[in-house]
Every structure is written in C-alpha cells, then in structure tokens.
C-alpha cells in the first residue's frame, strides 16, 4: 500500500499541467466562459483537435484500438488536469462512449467514427432519458423498427446535453417491444444529428447551462449504425454509465477552487484589521472543505486504481458518485460563505473564486440525480456493499 503518486505519475501530471497552461489562452478561456463551461466554440474545437494531434485523447484506451494504453489511473490524471485547467473536455465522447465504440463497434464504426474521436473531430451526445423514462430507464419508448436492411427510428429524448453541437447521438431505442423483460428489448444506435428527421429544442437550466429535448422523426439508418448485439443494448448502457459515473467526480477543479479561495482569504483585509482568514469561522469552513476534498481525492484515486487492477466494486463506484456529488454542494456552500456577498455577483466583483462559486452552486444539484440518481446509488451500496436484501422493483 502506498497512496502517493509514483515519480512517473507525478511527471505526467506536471507535463499535463504545463501543457494546459499553454493551451488555455485567454481567448479560449473567454470563449469557454461564454459557452457556460460546455465548449462547442471554434477555439474550443481547435484546441480539441490539437489535443488529438498531440496524442492526448484516448490515452487510456488499449493500443490496439488506437489509444496509448495507459492505465485508468493515468487517464484519470489527464482528465483531472484538463478539468483543473478549466477546459470543458468532452469526456462523454472520449472517456465514456468512445471506448465502448472502440470495443464493440462494427467495421464502419472502427473506420469512420473511432479515428475521428481520437483526432478530436467527432462529438457524441447521449440519448437515454425520455419524458416518461428517467430512473426507470428501461421503460423507454423511442423505437427502432427494422425496414429492409436498415432501421427507422421514431421518438423523443430528454436532457440530451451537448446535442446541439454534437455530430451523433448515442441512442437507446426499443427494438423488441415483445421482450418479456423490458430491458432485454433495447438496442444501441449511432444516429447522425444532421439527419433531416433529427431536431432539437433547448432546455435552459438553473445553472445557465443549456440542455436539449431531441426529436427523432422517421430517421433511417443502415444496420452499420447499430452498436453491439441486437436487443443487447442494456449491457452497453450500464457499462457506459459506470464509466460516466467515474468521470463525474473530479477532484482537480475542487482542489483548485479551494486553493484559490484560501489564497483570497489570506490576501483580503478585514475592515477592522486582520485578514479574512484570521476569523475562526472562516478557518473552520476552510478546514471542513479541506477534509472533504481530501477524501474526494482518495476515493477517485482508489477507483482509478481499482479499475486498473480490474477490481472495481459496484458499491464503491456508487459510493464515489454519492459522496462526490454531495460534497460538491457542501463545498460550494462553505466556500460561498467565506467569499460572502461577492459570491452572489456574476462577475465576483474582483474575486475569481466568488465568480466561479456564483455559477457552481447553481449547477451543483445536477450530479446528485444525473448519471443515476443518488437514491439508486444508495440502493446499490446497501445491496452490493453490505449484502442487505432490498425491495424488488
């Protein structure tokens, strides 16, 4: 047991930190800021393509699939550094769906899709939820019907984030309405977002981030666009969600925000003399945050290590998701108290932490239900981690 990075891992971290410092020009940072930390702008695309050229996309994928074959731990170091730099990295495409396509995709996908993902030229949105299918995802109604040697797709998806600038939607559709168990009648498709039958309307959220409702109106795709086994989509969905869950909890940006807030509190004078950080309650808030983030770090590192070893337990993946998502909310409150009124101002009135916190607190709740709601995660923890019998659904 040794819970510190190896010299090689530290070197990788330093290399990445220097790389991103150079990559994140003020113009790019401003564009990302404008796009509410989602990306999609021209400078953002250019930077992504450059990361692709420099071999930084898919660094954890097997070499046989075009990646660098580094361990999930090193891949995690990468994601952490990119997030820390403030670059909205499209990890749903590169870390979550991409490896599944590389592993399960047919010839067309291997030829046309995977190389473009690795070059940072192709983006994928995720189409699972529907107006009537959220936590009970297997009840989804969007249907793909066999016609000739292709498929005709009809339906509606909700919360299709990033779809308005993505090239494809990774779509879950019902292919066997007669299946006795509803999750055994679902298949996965890659649907081109430039199809005339594809449309999208924005949904604006509390955090200012745009998401979408997407519509699929008689979209015809060839069988090449189907991924994995027919009616075998559920396995791919759960595998993707497990990967997504891992990418949701990043400790890097929290550590960075914490450091910035502490530095601000050290440098800011109080009207009656002394510094903001000299106040006992400020020290207590900051100390609580320090302890919370430390465990966030350890939990995500342990996960990445367990993935590397092939021993990731379901309960631990769920524990990381619950802990991390709830810790974010706590952090943004405790740090928000420290920066005070400035944390209500969109520009933070000269305090960069305050500016970030004003937005973060509004966007924080999404992760307690997104990527598998925390109630379901707690069900998984008590059943898989503590062997407690659970109610049937």
């Amino acid at each position: 047991m040794k819970l510190q990075f190896t010299a090689a891992q530290l070197a990788l971290r330093d290399e990445l930190r220097a790389y991103f410092r150079e990559l994140m020009t003020p113009a790019l940072a401003a564009e990302c800021e404008r796009d509410m930390g989602e990306g999609g702008g021209p400078l953002w695309r250019e930077a992504l393509a450059r990361m692709g050229r420099d071999g930084w996309i898919g660094l954890g994928w097997p070499e046989a699939l075009g990646g660098r074959g580094l361990s999930p731990l090193e891949q995690f170091i990468f994601v952490e550094e990119v997030m820390r730099a403030g670059y909205p990295f499209p990890f749903l495409t590169t870390e979550s769906v991409g490896p599944i396509l590389a592993e399960h995709g047919n010839d067309w996908i291997q030829r046309e899709i995977v190389p473009k993902i690795l070059r940072g030229e192709l983006l994928i949105a995720i189409g699972y939820s529907e107006p009537g299918a959220g936590t009970d995802l297997a009840s989804l109604k969007t249907a793909a019907v066999r016609e000739g040697d292709g498929w005709v797709i009809n339906g509606q998806k909700m919360w299709t984030s990033l779809a308005h600038f993505c090239d494809y939607t990774w779509l879950a559709a019902r292919t066997d309405p007669e299946a006795p168990k509803k999750h055994k009648g679902i298949s996965m498709f890659l649907v081109p977002n430039n199809d005339p039958g594809w449309s999208c309307t924005p949904v604006h959220t509390l955090g200012g981030v745009r998401t979408n409702a997407t519509f699929y109106d008689n979209i015809r795709v060839s069988d090449d666009h189907r991924v994995g086994e027919l009616h075998g989509g559920w396995k791919l969905i759960t595998s993707q969600l497990n990967r997504e869950r891992l990418s949701l909890i990043n400790f890097g940006p929290s550590a960075e925000l914490f450091n910035a807030t502490v530095r601000w509190a050290r440098d800011s004078a109080l009207p009656g003399g002394g510094r903001v950080i000299d106040q006992g309650w400020v020290q207590l808030n900051l100390a609580r945050c320090r302890a919370l983030i430390e465990c966030m770090k350890l939990i995500v590192y342990k996960q990445s290590w367990a993935m590397t070893e092939g021993t990731l337990e379901m309960a631990d993946a769920s524990a990381a998701k619950v802990y991390g998502s709830e810790a974010f909310i706590e952090l943004y409150r405790l740090l928000g108290e420290v920066v005070g009124q400035a944390g209500l101002l969109r520009d933070g009135d000269g305090c960069d932490s305050a500016r970030r916190l004003e937005r973060l607190y509004r966007a924080a709740s999404i992760i307690t239900f997104g990527g598998g709601t925390n109630e379901i995660q707690r069900d998984i923890i008590s059943a898989a981690g503590l062997w407690m019998p659970r109610a049937s659904r």
């Binding site: 914490f258 502490v262 939990i299 342990k302 008590s382 503590l386 407690m388 659970r390």
Partner: protein
C-alpha cells in the same frame, strides 16, 4: 500509487483476525462490563505476544517482526474490529515506538526486547484534563536536580496505569518552555494512582506525582521533548483512527446483517429505502475513514510529513464514529441498546476513539490555523 496490501500485510491482518476472532466474543467481553474486572484479557494478550503481533513494527534486533507502521495499524484495526480488551495502542504505539525512535542504545537494549516478549508492559500518559495537546504539558512540571528530574503534578485518565511497568510521560521543564519525556515507574516513590471509571471500561487511573525522582536512565528525551511528543501524537492519532475503522466497520456490518433478518410488515426492514440509505451513508463514511486512515498510516510508515493527513483522518474518525454509532443503534431499534446484544459496547468505543486526543472540532481548528499560516493547499 497502490491501494492494495502486500502479502506480508495480509498475513499480519489475517493472523490478528484469526486470533482475535477465536478469543474475543460478546461473552468474553461481558466479563469486563461495568468494571466487574479490569478490562485486560491477559490470555489473549499472551496469545498475541506469542504470535509476535505487538512487536510487528519493532526491529528484528530487539526481537520484533521488523515491519513498519502500516502493519502495526492493520493489527490495531483488527483489535478495533473486536474491541478487544488488550493494551495494543498504549503498549505498541504509546510505548515501544517512541522507545525505539528516541531511546538511547542502553534504554532500547534494556526495555525493547522485554516489551516485545511481553515481560514488560508500557503505556503513555498523554493528556491532562482540559489539555489535549500532549506536546505542551501544563499540569506536570519537572525540575532538574543534577542528573535527576523531579516531577510534580497530575496526568488524567492514564490507560493501563495500574497494569503497566513503565509510563511514558511528558513534563514541562521548570524555568523555560521546554518539555522532557520520561519513562516513569508507576509503582515508584511519590506516585499515587487514583482509579477512575471511563465510558469504555478501559482500565485507567489518574496519576498523581509528588516530587517523583526520575533518574537519567529513565529520561527518554531530556530536552526538546515537544517535537518527540508531536511525533508520538501523530502516531497515536493514526492508531486511534485504525482502531475506529475496525470498530465502525464491525458495527456497520452488524447492523446490515440485523436489518436483513429483522422482519416487520412481513419483510426484512433492510428493504425499506429509509433503512438501506442510512446504512449506505455509513458505508460511505466508513470508506472515507478507511482511506484517510490508510493515507496517514502509509505516510507515517515512510516517515514522511503527515501532520495534516493525520488530522484529516482524525476528523473522519470523529465524524464517522459519531454517525455510525447512532445510525447503527437506530436501525436496531431497542435491540441496539439492549446490553444482551453486542452493539452497545461498540458505541462506547466509537465515542472513546472520537474524543481521545482531540475530537473533530479540535483537529479542524488546527487545520484551519495551518491554512491561515500558509500551509495545507493542494499540490
């Protein structure tokens, strides 16, 4: 980075688990409830000594297993899992580690082999009432008289003071702000033991010192003892965290298993989400305590700076212990507080570990001071 255990670490853990599993039971623990007998199972302690476990972190030249702090912490975690009535933390961490680290060649040769074999029992007097800073003693002072130190004052709630042969004890040197650390004979002239009763039934006594003369061969650190005590306090805190981890994990698993069997409305109560989710929260808390503890222990194992990481672990030991104690009692209903069922003793020990050597508030305040003083940012 490696979160796994080495073969040696697994062996130490499994050996401890086997001996403790065989010899500790609710029935054996019952003998010590309400101080019916001093809470010290000497047969069990002998079995652990014969297996070499208390000397796991002592060098081979003194008869130890020659492993490090991590292996010792894994042994203590198992002691916590069974809340075993043995002085493992006091003897191994409070006594042998500082003796090995700070003792003179003569002191080590004289006492370490005897401590490893168990002929000699060690303990440490670290706290004073109202003062959790073991590196800054106030209530015991030492006056120099030639080579000898004359001690006066009082240490409170010293574990196993009546059973131990030597008590490690820090004292404030008169006429300055320096600290000396001595190994005191608790049966020597001028020492009075005033037995006290603690929440966990651990054998403890207040130590009243009235002009106790400590000869030079029993002075462990004559000058600059504050640094030695800080060194020791970190290791004691980490050991308490390991003990807390074992105890909290055991209490949690007891509750998980109970709720899977207890039926109400015709179904196991674990099938109610309100129950399952409270237990899931325990699982997350215990995992945080585990990781924070292993991180601190792995740094201490390598003799690296670990002050912040140890404090963070102790904060988790306090918070997790508190929450797991009340959650597990709660989901058990009346059974959890019934003294015929084993959970209640865990609740006592979770509280003991939470409050010993500073609770969460104490350590959070220290972390906060460090942040204000320019330390503690993330790398």
């Amino acid at each position: 980075m490696d979160f796994g255990f080495s073969d040696e670490q697994r062996e130490v853990r499994d050996l401890a688990r086997r001996i403790l599993g065989e010899q500790v039971s609710p029935r054996s623990l019952q003998a010590y409830d309400e101080y019916a007998a001093p809470r010290f199972d000497e047969d069990l302690w002998r079995a652990l000594l014969d297996a070499g476990l208390p000397g796991v972190a002592v060098a081979a030249q003194w008869g130890g297993m020659d492993f490090g702090f991590l292996e010792l912490a894994l042994f203590i975690e198992e002691v916590g899992r069974g809340i075993a009535p043995v002085p493992a933390i006091q003897h191994c961490v409070g006594g042998m580690l500082p003796l090995q680290r700070f003792g003179s060649a003569a002191q080590r040769a004289r006492w370490l082999p005897a401590a490893v074999s168990g002929e000699l029992l060690l303990t440490a007097a670290l706290t004073e009432t109202g003062n959790d800073w073991s590196r800054a003693p106030r209530c015991v002072t030492a006056r120099r008289d030639g080579d000898t130190l004359c001690l006066r004052g009082r240490k409170s709630a010293v574990p196993f003071a009546a059973q131990a042969d030597l008590v490690l004890l820090p004292a404030a040197l008169e006429g300055g702000d320096d600290v000396a650390v001595v190994l005191l004979d608790p049966r020597g002239a001028g020492v009075t033991l005033l037995p006290c009763e603690s929440t966990s039934f651990e054998p403890q006594a207040h130590l009243q010192l009235d002009n106790v003369r400590v000869p030079p061969e029993q002075v462990l650190v004559g000058r600059g003892g504050a640094a030695a005590m800080a060194w020791l306090a970190e290791r004691m805190c980490a050991a308490l965290c390991a003990h807390q981890l074992g105890a909290a994990d055991a209490a949690m698993r007891m509750a998980a298993s109970y709720t899977g069997e207890r039926q109400q409305f015709g179904v196991p109560i674990s099938t109610f989400q309100a129950v399952g989710h409270r237990m899931a929260n325990c699982y997350i808390d215990v995992e945080c305590l585990r990781l924070a503890t292993y991180q601190a222990c792995s740094l201490l194992h390598d003799e690296q700076a670990a002050a912040l990481e140890t404090r963070i672990a102790k904060v988790w030991a306090g918070d997790t212990g508190h929450r797991v104690s009340y959650a597990t009692q709660h989901v058990h209903g009346g059974t959890g507080i019934d003294r015929d069922y084993p959970l209640w003793r865990y609740c006592l020990w979770l509280r003991h570990n939470e409050m010993t050597l500073g609770g969460s508030g104490f350590h959070l305040a220290a972390i906060g001071e460090g942040l204000a003083g320019g330390q503690g940012l993330f790398a």
